[in-house]
C-alpha cells in the first residue's frame, strides 16, 4: 500500500466573506509527483496554501495531515524541514545575493543565531547547481532577469531538502529549455523518494507528472494518474472541451481544440 504524504479531510476555506474551497478530501501519495490543475479561480493556490499550513487557521476548516501527523501539531521548524514551499510573486529579495537567498532555505536546519555549517553550504551549492544558478551566486536578485530569479527561488526551495515540496506556478518566467530542466529536476527528486505537489497553468507540462488533481469552483472534480483516460476526460471537461489530450511522441499533451471554434 502506498504511504500518504499529505492527507486533507473536509477542507473548506474562505478569504473574507468569499468561500474559496468547499469540502475537499484529498490523499497525496508519498514518493509521487502530483499536479493540481484547473481554470482560473478554481482555488488551486489556496488549496496549496492550506496543504502547507500557510493560511490563518480561522480561515480554514478541516484537517491536514503531513506524513500522518496533524499539520497544526507539528512545531513550525520541524514542519519547515519536512515541507518546502515555493510561492508565486511573493517577495522580491532584491538586496540579497542569489547565494544568500538560497541559504535562507537552510534556516529550518540551523540553530538560532548559529552560522551556516558545511552541510548548509553544500546543500546551497547543490541546489544552485541543480537550477543552473551557481554562476551568478554573487549577484543580487535585482540584477537578474525574471527567469534567472525564478531559478534562484527554486534553488532556495530545493536547499531545504524537505521530504515534501509544494510549488505554486514554479514555471513562471522560465523559458522552454529551463522548463524542461525543471521537469527533469522534479523527476529526479521523486525518483530519490521525494514528494512533489505543483500547481501548474501549463496543462501539457502538468501531464508529465505522475498524478493529477483537477479542480473547479473550489472543489476537486477528479484525482487520478496522468495517463488514465478518466483524467483526460476530466481535464477536457473542466476546460470546457477547449483542449484535447493527445498522445504524441510517447508523451501526453494538451492541445487547443480548434474544431469547436469552427463549429460555432
Amino acid at each position: 500500500m502506498k504511504s500518504i504524504a499529505i492527507s486533507a479531510n473536509g477542507i473548506s476555506a474562505s478569504i473574507g466573506n468569499r468561500s474559496i474551497l468547499q469540502g475537499i478530501d484529498l490523499q497525496l501519495p508519498a514518493g509521487r509527483w502530483t499536479s493540481i490543475v484547473g481554470p482560473n479561480g478554481a482555488g488551486k493556490s489556496t488549496l496549496l496554501k492550506v496543504l502547507a499550513g500557510l493560511l490563518p487557521r480561522v480561515a480554514v476548516q478541516g484537517d491536514v495531515l503531513l506524513l500522518g501527523r496533524p499539520l497544526v501539531q507539528i512545531p513550525a521548524r520541524e514542519r519547515a524541514r519536512q515541507l518546502a514551499w515555493l510561492g508565486q510573486n511573493e517577495g522580491s529579495a532584491d538586496d540579497l545575493t542569489s547565494y544568500d537567498v538560497a541559504m535562507l532555505g537552510r534556516l529550518p536546519h540551523q540553530a538560532w543565531l548559529a552560522p551556516p555549517g558545511a552541510a548548509d553550504h553544500a546543500a546551497v551549492e547543490q541546489a544552485l547547481r541543480t537550477t543552473q544558478a551557481w554562476d551568478w551566486r554573487h549577484r543580487p536578485l535585482s540584477q537578474l532577469s525574471g527567469g534567472e530569479r525564478q531559478r534562484v527561488l527554486l534553488a532556495r526551495a530545493l536547499a531545504v531538502q524537505a521530504q515534501v515540496l509544494l510549488m505554486d506556478e514554479p514555471l513562471a518566467n522560465l523559458d522552454p529549455p529551463h522548463q524542461t530542466d525543471w521537469l527533469h529536476t522534479m523527476r529526479a527528486l521523486v525518483d530519490a523518494g521525494g514528494t512533489v505537489v505543483s500547481v501548474l497553468h501549463e496543462v501539457s507540462l502538468a501531464l508529465q507528472s505522475d498524478d493529477m488533481v483537477v479542480m473547479a469552483q473550489g472543489r476537486v472534480l477528479h484525482q487520478g494518474a496522468c495517463d488514465a483516460p478518466a483524467t483526460h476526460a476530466a481535464l477536457e471537461s473542466v476546460f470546457d472541451h477547449r483542449i484535447h489530450v493527445r498522445h504524441l511522441d510517447g508523451m501526453w499533451m494538451a492541445l487547443p481544440s480548434m474544431q469547436r471554434k469552427h463549429s460555432q
Binding site: 496554501k49 502547507a52 500557510l54 512545531p75 513550525a76 521548524r77 520541524e78 514542519r79 519547515a80 524541514r81 515541507l83 518546502a84 514551499w85 515555493l86 510561492g87 511573493e90 517577495g91 522580491s92 529579495a93 532584491d94 538586496d95 540579497l96 545575493t97 547565494y99 544568500d100 537567498v101 538560497a102 541559504m103 535562507l104 532555505g105 534556516l107 529550518p108 543565531l113 548559529a114 552560522p115 551556516p116 548548509d120 553550504h121 546551497v124 551549492e125 551566486r137 554573487h138 543580487p140 527561488l153 532556495r156 531545504v160
Partner: protein, 344 residues
Amino acid sequence: MTGASIGVPTSSATRRAAWCAAWLLLASALLAVCGASVGSTGFDSVLRMHGDPVAWQIVWDIRLPRTLGAWLAGALLGLSGAVAQGLFRNPLADPYLLGSASGAALGGAVAMALFGVSPVAAQWMARIGITGMAFLGAAGAVVLTLLLAKGVQHTLRLLLAGVIVGVVLGALRDLVELASPDILQAMQAFTLGSTAFVGWAACLLMAVAWALCSVVAWMLARALDGLTLGEATAASLGLPLMPMRVGLVAAMALATGTAVAQTGLIAFVGLAAPHLVRSIVRVTHERHIVLSSLMGAVLLMAADILARWLLAPQELPVGVLTAALGGTYLLWLMHRRTSQGGAL
C-alpha cells in the same frame, strides 16, 4: 548567521562590508575630533583643555557630549530606518514617514507637560521619563499606522497612513504645547531638532538604548531576511513571525523614542542611511542593520558639525539642516525609482 556572507562563497561582500564599517568608524573618529574643535573658541580650547578649566569645560561638558550625542542619535535613527525598511518591506519606510517620530515627540511633550520638565533637563528621572513616554508614543504611532494601512502589503497606503498619523499626532502635540505654555519655548528647540542640550546623561541613555536595540535587531535579523521572500515563504521557513515582528517594532520604537527624546525631531537620517549603505554593499540584514546604524551616526555627526559651523558663531538647528538635505535626497530617490520604471 542567515547570510552565507560569512562563508567562503560571498567573501567579497563580507570584505566590502568590513571595509565599509572600517571607513565609517574612521570617519566617526575624524568627525569626533572636528566636533570637539568647532565652536566660538575653535581648536584652541582642545589644545588648552588640560591647563585651562574653562577650555576643559567647553570641550568636556559641551562639545564632546553633543558630538557623541549626535553620533548616538544618528546611530539610533539609522538602525530604526534599517529595521523599518526591512520590516515593512518598503524602501521608503523610516521613523518619520511611519509616524513613529511624531508619536515619540507627542509622548515627549505629554511627559514634559505632565511632569513639568523641559527637554534641557539633565536629571536622570526626567530623562528616563521623557524617553519612556517617547518610546510609548513611537510604538503607539507605528501600531496606529499599521491599523490604518491594514497591514504592510500596499506601499502607498502604508505611507499615506504614516503621513496621516504623523500630521494628527503633530497637531495633538501642538495642542499639548498650547495647553502648557511653560514648555512652549523649550518644545520649539525640541521640534526643530537640536543636539545643543545633549549632556553626558543623555549620551549614556542613548548608548544603553543603542546597545539594547542593536542586540535585539541583530538577533531578529533573519526574520527580516526571510520576509524579503514574502510573508508565506518566511512562515514556511518556520520563522515565528509574530513575536519577531513585535520585537523588531519594539526595537524600532525604542531607538526612535530615545533619539527623539534627547535631540528632538531630526528627519531623514533614518531614511537615507540604509539607502546609502545599500548603494555601497548589499548584505543580509544582520550586517545591513549595523552598517546603517554606523552610517546614520556619521551622517548626523557631520550634519551637526555643519549646523554649528555654517553660520558660526550662530548655529542652525540640525533638524532643519537634515530636513533640507534629506528632503532633497528623498526627491532624488523618488525620481530615480520612477525613471527606473518602479512604482513608489
